[in-house]
């Protein structure tokens, strides 16, 4: 009984520690993202729009036929009306079928606006005005992460906190298990000796 209580105490402590570290991490992420969106509102810094040439040369989604009723907060219509909190604006319109394999040069940002395959920047926001895509950006292989600072410290802190909690809990449980099995052995030996 005592052992069970001790084990559950350790588990509860570990869970509390893990949850606490997760909450702290989330709070830090939230505070960071709000501050970064404020920065984005003031100067739109870090908003990667793709090359202006592309924006000029390729038809914007609105030009290609805007979709009424698609205006959403944070959405990118290709006309430069990006709002804070949303994904970075993506002025270059995506031309379906224009993404030619082999045309992508690493390190060279062509701004062709092709969305990644099966990947996060799927095509819609450039192609579909008003389509709100979290984490999406039409510049080549580029994502919202390029515009926002990565919350590395809180994420790694949460990961480290959670991992430590798990390891500590498991360590205590193993110690208790071993102590219990030793106690059992001792009892057995004592009984044998009595006989």
């Amino acid at each position: 009984m005592t052992r069970k209580t001790g084990t559950s105490q350790v588990v509860i402590a570990a869970v509390v520690l893990a949850v606490a570290s997760a909450v702290v991490g989330l709070v830090m992420v939230a505070s960071r993202s709000s501050s970064s969106s404020m920065a984005g509102m003031s100067g739109m810094s870090g908003m990667d729009h793709g090359s202006s040439e592309t924006a000029v040369s390729s038809p914007t989604p609105t030009d290609a036929g805007g979709m009424p009723g698609m205006d959403m907060p944070g959405m990118d219509s290709g006309t430069g009306d990006a709002t804070a909190g949303g994904p970075p604006p993506t002025p270059s319109g995506d031309m379906p079928g224009m993404d030619m394999p082999g045309m992508d040069m690493p390190g060279m940002d062509s701004g062709t606006g092709d969305a990644t395959a099966g990947g996060p920047p799927p095509t819609p926001s450039g192609d579909m005005p008003g389509m709100d895509m979290p984490g999406m950006d039409h510049e080549h292989g580029d994502t919202a992460e390029s515009a926002q600072p990565r919350p590395l410290a809180p994420v790694l802190g949460t990961f480290g906190g959670g991992t430590s909690a798990v390891l500590i809990a498991a360590g205590f449980m193993r110690r208790k298990d071993r102590a219990a099995s030793l106690a059992k052995k001792a009892t057995r030996l004592a009984r044998k000796a009595e006989k």
């Binding site: 979709m67 009723g69 698609m70 959403m72 995506d94 379906p96 079928g97 993404d99 030619m100 394999p101 082999g102 045309m103 992508d104 040069m105 690493p106 390190g107 060279m108 940002d109 092709d114 969305a115 990644t116 395959a117 099966g118 990947g119 996060p120 920047p121 799927p122 095509t123 819609p124 926001s125 192609d127 579909m128 008003g130 389509m131 709100d132 895509m133 979290p134 984490g135 999406m136 080549h140 292989g141 580029d142 994502t143 919202a144 992460e145 390029s146 990565r150 590395l152 994420v155 790694l156 990961f159 991992t163 798990v166 390891l167 809990a169 498991a170 360590g171 449980m173 193993r174 298990d177």
Partner: protein, 488 residues
Amino acid sequence: MSQDVQTRAKARKANTSRPGRASAARKDRDDKQFELLPGEPLGRDLLKNRFVSAVMRSRWYPGAFQIPIAAVFGLVAYQLLVGPSKAHENAGTALMWVLWWPALPLVYVLLGRFWCAVCPFAALSDFVQKLVGVNRPVPPFLKKYGIWVIDATFLAITWADHVFGIVGSPWGSGILLLLLTFSVIVSGAFFQRRAFCRYLCFLGGLSANYARTGMVTLRANTDICSTCTAKAACYNGTDTVPACPLSSFPRTMEDSANCNLCANCIKSCPNDAITLTVRQPTKELWFLRNPKIEESFLAMAIMGIVIIQNITMLPIWTDALAWVNKVTGITSYPVIFTALFAVAVSIPVALLALAAKVASGGNLESTIQNFARFGYALIPLDVAAHVAHNLFHLLAEGGSVFYTVGALFGGHASGSPALAGNGTIQVLQYILLALGLAGSLYTARRIAHRRYLTPGRRRSTLVPFTTLIVVLGALNAVMFLFPMTHRM
């Protein structure tokens, strides 16, 4: 009049009951014959080769592979989390999604679940287990429903990739790695052996299915095992060799789904009863005895995932989004994507269910039995479509691996990331699809011929499933006609 009605009723009853009795008798006969059939025949034992035997029995195997792979994964994780934020500049993204991910299904076809033996997550799990492992038994829930958890995880990750961004975002990929690492640590800390790899890893589920088409298989010689007095050393391990990490008992093992070729059983068997043989790809699928519906479901879900991955890279995708938007008025991309994703994943499952329903009318087995049995026949096409899809990334973007990794060491080389031209890639994709299609058709035929004795039952089974395989093959073939977008 009433007599006439009675006579007619009796005749009707006789007409309906006669085929019923005959079919029941046919079914019983087929069932009995099926029970008596031998398992998969084994080929030449590779362990008779001195070099292979030395490698597999070496204490450096598989550690010699694990260490460099773990080092590369460490670099990948570092790059993803703190490296360049643009995917096409990030070596982690290139190594993970352009090189590793496309190469993985190829490894499964050639070597079964070998990757799982050298996976850095498995090494981490072992390390945590040694450090603090409590070694609790795997909960019965996981044993029973683990594969469904894998099915759900696989779908959830694919969905999250499109909605939140994982593949094209180094940060998203880094978070995924951290989540996986944390899950592995939890599993290693509390549960026995590699519980995560066997019951929870989405890649493990994929590899378990694909490994059935693998060309290398490990089995035990049951004649020798029947005289063994070593108390299942192959399963429990010895003082010097760890137990089977995936909790497989070689003596009763009938498939390669849960064997990662770690060679622990080879090292611990005192009787040299373990054999390692080469076989034709997909051969294991022809001899399945106990098909499971969840594994068939996973095969179809993977087919759906490959379809949706292909579609999202095609021009038609934007049209589909626009159409859904126009019809429903919904503007949220996650909502529209979720709906289309659900449809795309459901289509292969629904088609298999339909084929199973049609077949059940003729082969006297239930729809569920047909679904479970013939879902496996789709695995070769699954693998082929998956490899063909990934081949595009490997060959059209493979150069980015050199450039981004070179940049880490101060190199400034640049150029086209394409390793092969569009035409070459398409030809290879179609060759792969043709092989997969042939493999699936042949597998369906072998399963039907092995399971049913009568030509009628075979025909009524093969017609719907052959149609299904051809339809899914054609769907993939059409999708590979169009130019796809890049991953990076």
